[in-house]
Symmetry: C2
Subunit: 313 residues, 2 copies
Amino acid sequence: MTALPDRIRVVEVGPRDGLQNEAVHVPTDRKVRLVEALGDVGLSAIEMTAFVHPRWIPQMADASEVATTVRRRPGVRYSALVPNVKGYAAAAAADVPVVAVFMSATETHSRRNLNKGIDEAIEALREVTLAAQADGREVRAYLSVVFGCPYEGEVAPTATLAIAKRLASMGIGELSLGDTTGMANPTQVRRLVSALREEVSGLSLAGHFHDTRGTALANTYAAMLEGLEVFDASVGGLGGCPYAPGASGNLSTNDLVAMLEGMGIATGVDRDGLLEVTRWICQDVLGVSIPSREATAELARRAKAARVAAERA
Amino acid sequence: MTALPDRIRVVEVGPRDGLQNEAVHVPTDRKVRLVEALGDVGLSAIEMTAFVHPRWIPQMADASEVATTVRRRPGVRYSALVPNVKGYAAAAAADVPVVAVFMSATETHSRRNLNKGIDEAIEALREVTLAAQADGREVRAYLSVVFGCPYEGEVAPTATLAIAKRLASMGIGELSLGDTTGMANPTQVRRLVSALREEVSGLSLAGHFHDTRGTALANTYAAMLEGLEVFDASVGGLGGCPYAPGASGNLSTNDLVAMLEGMGIATGVDRDGLLEVTRWICQDVLGVSIPSREATAELARRAKAARVAAERA
């Protein structure tokens, strides 16, 4: 059997990717508390916010305040999403150590989402990267629709390989492979990851899987079998499917951590603490039902155990 | 990379395992129509009903009528669950070709669920098996809580190995490995399946995974890497988590078939037809929201595409 990693780095994207599509406005102090609580339960990489124009994502209008107010824990990699040099200037002013940039693997998705073709998107991303590097900041890139595109269907690995080589040559540290609409399967994941590891050097790879069709953990396992050791996930599974309100989106940190810890792979995350943060942000702050299967099952199991204990008392 | 099978046999358990816990009484003609529709969309193994005492499972009180009314398609393996020789006599009278028996992998789960210890359960199961074999019927066995037990925690592979050897020596054809409360992980699955394949011969193995914690497809993929070619699933994901009302239970046939077909593994199932059966049984007949992630996402995707088309018209 292929050797699995001993330890996985979970990149918590909930405060940014999870909250950005939420209809409920979340007050700044709650966002700060969420980031701090996620660090307290052991997440060692946390995306705090996005420095985007509030017209695009009103929920992220308080990016600077969030990033500067969070009490930062030593050893945690804090990042923020940045779309352009203007956003980068704000992120730098807030002293964000890791800058996350983003683009799409297909021309159509790129034009529909960023209003730019791939070449133009890479140029914008290069500007941010150069500025960040000049300031000694790390850069992480999100690549969307790497496995399947809602407009172009299945995406060939060659498309991603070509983009990955261009990003690697810029000195980008980490590339997060996004299955944006949950269309990937384990065979596809292994094929792409092994090609990337063979043909593109000097680039740390991360898996960013969506559970839209229930495949997020299968794809995670497949990626681990090809050596991936970094996975993005969102507390409680916040961050819905982009084209289907009510359908699932981001892999939940809860499901990911539970599976990994069950397999004897360390994540550093305290599961009880994570469950409490999940319950608080979903139920108390947002008033939504928890998308995570593991968290839902665990809360139901505990409620039942409490009922049984009360009946016996 | 380990070779994957070209073809998977999906055992559709929805009409039995999916409906048995539903509060809504389903009229007999709808159950018959469900079994027939599942055959029509290409499922080649279908569990029709359970010949159990109606005091246990009121929903299955019409087992004989369902089994005798279904218009059977050539080439489809129809089964029914049978707890004892009395149930077997009724199943035989209804000419059910495959008899499904069941027991637990742990002593506590066995006593709590069947009111019998493991040894006593095996004896009851042997009686049914001998009767079925004398009549030339195939026997399939479900073994519950193979990976984790809500009472005993993680279950050692040795427990399952010992039971599997006893079942194999009886001439049981297929053993379905049940992750009844969704506690398994891919490492555990590979360890158990490889041990069973090595130490127990003459027994076809099936995976019966629950998506309670989002791991069902990861476990399916892990099992395929160890050579498993038969998986149980329930249309729409019907059949909730036994200890958590509202939480997920059975892996949905929809999620399973979508992943497999995406990987180039044939299932024989028409996905559009399956989606329509899923919508009908969940929404029209039961009035429940669809547990399957893939079916939910696909229906949402289609609804959105229809809205966009209508706006353009």
